[in-house]
Amino acid sequence: MFKHIMVPVDLAHEGRLDRALGVAADLAGHYGARVTYVGVTVPQPSSVAHTPQEFAEKLSRFAAVQGETRGVAAPASHPIVSHDPAVDLDKQLLAAAEELKADLIVMGSHIPRFLDLGSHGGHLASLSHHSVMLVRDEA
């Protein structure tokens, strides 16, 4: 059904990702799909990393940890450097999904950083022709 799952993650709010990450790992196991964790950072220092390359390393480690703890086979990471993520996030996530040729996007829908004038996840789903699964914080 699905061959490549893209999981957008916000490393600044790792604690709130738990449910989405769990679901993504289960689906990957079920369909035998690859998983790529996508993170968005800025050229400037952020609360996560001082430089884009440091962010890339952290994201790559994060992906590796997912592989170990949740049993995801060959997890990959894909960092995106955005000049203005508060505005361009959805667009750049979609572009990443195209580039990675992902066929399913699994994401938490209440990542506060992403939530401004509406739900990012919902907006993304409305723009995308990919299958999008939004995992709410609480059931």
Partner: protein, 558 residues
């Protein structure tokens, strides 16, 4: 800083940087939450104190307008007249400092690490450099200043140069060339190396400490070498709050006064009546476009608008150039460059001069003005300059904009002066700059002397408005970043808040009075900021030295 980020000695994908080790985490003083559907992520206490102090000053200006006008109306000229030598000396130091950095080996240091690539193309980068900090001034002063120095009847001649008109207003043909030469040199002096060196110092300091040292993008970060960990406490709060304060009032008062100027232009060209209603509508329109721009973001809004703006400005420049005679004006540009090179040293001499009207009334005023805008413009330039080497950065922020400004002044000023010389009795420039001093009409008066005035004046008004928009949107992004503790990705409603707030302050001051007095207050902040900028030069040297050392230690052969 976490312990896994020490990258010294290990070649990383983007190359080596000498990151500052600090225990401060970006966003650690921030408060996150939501008001209704609107999320926020703000620095405590910078956001609140900045906002409240702005409101306090607006209330003061509205409740005690006479006192505010008297006090700031006295303070600003007092500072620029008393400390003119200090402003002039400091600006000279900034120029020399930047020129030296171009040739020193530390010029090789790349902002963002040795292998970083530029975030923006040259076109987008230049467009944003101009649109943020200077475009509106070029529109306003491009005709006014050269024409004024050329024909000044009030004794403001730069360096006491000759006057081309006698007491009765008749042309003295023998003096025209010299007066024209000095008018262009004196104007170029205010728009070329010195202002851009001021912006470059602030921008370089911020870019260096952000991209290479890993500190948050905020004014306080540049002071790390001097203040150490104290920059994260009240020292830093005061620095950031002052920067927000100066930026917001600088933008709001310019917006209010700019609306009056745009209204004057509309009246002159279309007969739209002067009035508060029209001006409030203009402020709302400018703020609304700026809001759309910040909602579309840095790349989709601010950059696009800046590029449109630059395109329009180039068109107007080319039109004036060809309409006024390209050959004559380009010769003028050549002469302007030579005159600038010859006169820049006498003009920038801080001591032993007699031309108080020019030196104190214009030069010191400009320097205080540029410097009070430098936190905003510098921070915006820093945000878009990652990936350039220090040498490239300074060449592009100092030398090229200087040449563009000298060209602009030669074209607009040259065309205006030609008109004054050719038709001293009927020239609209003469009437609006010299006979009655109406600075806001000077551009339109010059365009009137050329063909297609109705079209070009309309382009002129649009440009004035769009330049205000591009200052307003980039300013809102800067204020938002500072008040979010250096976070670039704070929720969008926050930038909407600052952009709207700026428009509201402008409207309140426009209706209640106090635009001029609060603008005088902002320009007065130029004095303390001058000291701050001198300290920044020291910080840059300290930062670049450690960076260069890190570069050398990992680059065996050069």
């Amino acid at each position: 800083m976490t312990d896994d980020t020490n990258m010294q000695g290990i070649p990383e994908p983007e190359g080596d940087v000498d990151i500052i080790e600090t225990d401060y985490d970006i966003g650690q003083d921030n408060i996150e939450g939501a008001v209704g559907p609107f999320g926020f992520d703000i620095h405590n206490p910078v956001f609140l104190i900045s906002g409240l102090s702005v409101i306090a000053f607006v209330v003061y200006a509205l409740l005690a307008p006479t006192q505010a006008a008297d006090f700031f109306g006295w303070l600003r000229p007092m500072l620029t007249s008393t400390f003119d030598w200090f402003f002039l000396s400091a600006a000279n130091i900034f120029v020399i400092f930047c020129l030296v950095l171009i040739v020193l080996p530390v010029g090789k240091v790349r902002l963002g690490g040795a292998d970083a690539t530029p975030d923006y193309s040259y076109t987008g980068w230049f467009a944003m450099l101009f649109a943020a900090g200077m475009g509106i001034g070029l529109m306003f002063f491009g005709v006014l200043e050269p024409a004024y120095y050329f024909g000044t009847p009030w004794g403001d001649e730069p360096l006491g140069t000759v006057r081309p008109f006698d007491e009765s207003g008749a042309l003295i043909a023998g003096n025209v060339e010299e007066a024209r030469r000095m008018a262009l040199a004196a104007t170029s002096y205010h728009w070329a190396l010195h202002p851009w060196a001021i912006y470059a110092v602030v921008a370089l300091a911020l870019a260096l400490f952000t991209y290479n040292k890993g500190l948050p993008l905020s004014i306080r970060s540049a002071f790390y070498p001097l203040l150490g960990e104290r920059v994260w406490g009240w020292w830093g709060h005061v620095i950031d709050i002052t920067a927000v304060f100066a930026t917001l009032f600088g933008l709001a008062t310019s917006l209010g006064l700019g609306a009056q100027q745009a209204n004057a232009g509309l009246e002159y060209v279309y007969g739209v009546p002067m009035g508060t209603n029209v001006q409030v509508i203009l402020i709302i329109a400018i703020t609304a476009i700026a809001l759309v721009s910040v909602l579309r973001g840095l790349d989709g809004g601010v950059k696009v608008l800046s590029e449109i703006n630059m395109g329009l400005a180039v068109l107007l420049l080319l039109f004036v150039l060809f309409a006024a005679g390209a050959g004559v004006i380009l010769t003028e540009f050549g002469k302007g460059l030579v005159a600038y090179a010859q006169e820049v040293i006498p003009l920038s001499m801080p001591f032993g001069r007699e031309d108080d009207g020019y030196r104190q009334g214009w030069t010191a005023f400009y320097w205080a003005w540029w410097i009070s805008w430098s936190p905003f413009v510098g921070m915006f330039i820093a945000r878009v300059s990652r990936g350039r080497t220090v040498r490239e950065f300074i060449t592009c922020v100092l030398i090229i904009p200087s040449l563009v400004c000298i060209l602009w002044m030669a074209v607009f000023g040259g065309a205006a002066i030609n008109d004054m010389v050719a038709n001293p009795d009927t020239s609209a420039v003469m009437a609006n700059v010299i006979e009655t001093y109406s600075p806001e009409l000077s551009l339109f008066a010059m365009l009137e002397s050329l063909p297609l005035a109705a079209i070009t004046s309309t382009v002129g008004i649009i440009l004035v408005i769009v330049f205000f928009v591009t200052s307003s949107d980039s300013g809102s992004l800067v204020i938002d970043t500072i008040t979010a503790g250096g976070k670039i990705d704070a929720p969008v409603p926050q930038r909407v808040f600052w952009c709207t707030f700026e428009g509201l302050v402008a409207i309140a001051l426009l209706i209640g009075g106090g635009l001029a007095s609060l603008q005088a207050m902002v320009i007065s902040t130029g004095l303390p900021f001058t000291i701050v900028l001198l300290l920044l030069c020291v910080c840059i040297v300290m930062g670049l030295r450690s960076e260069h050392a890190a570069l050398k230690s990992t680059t065996p052969a050069e």
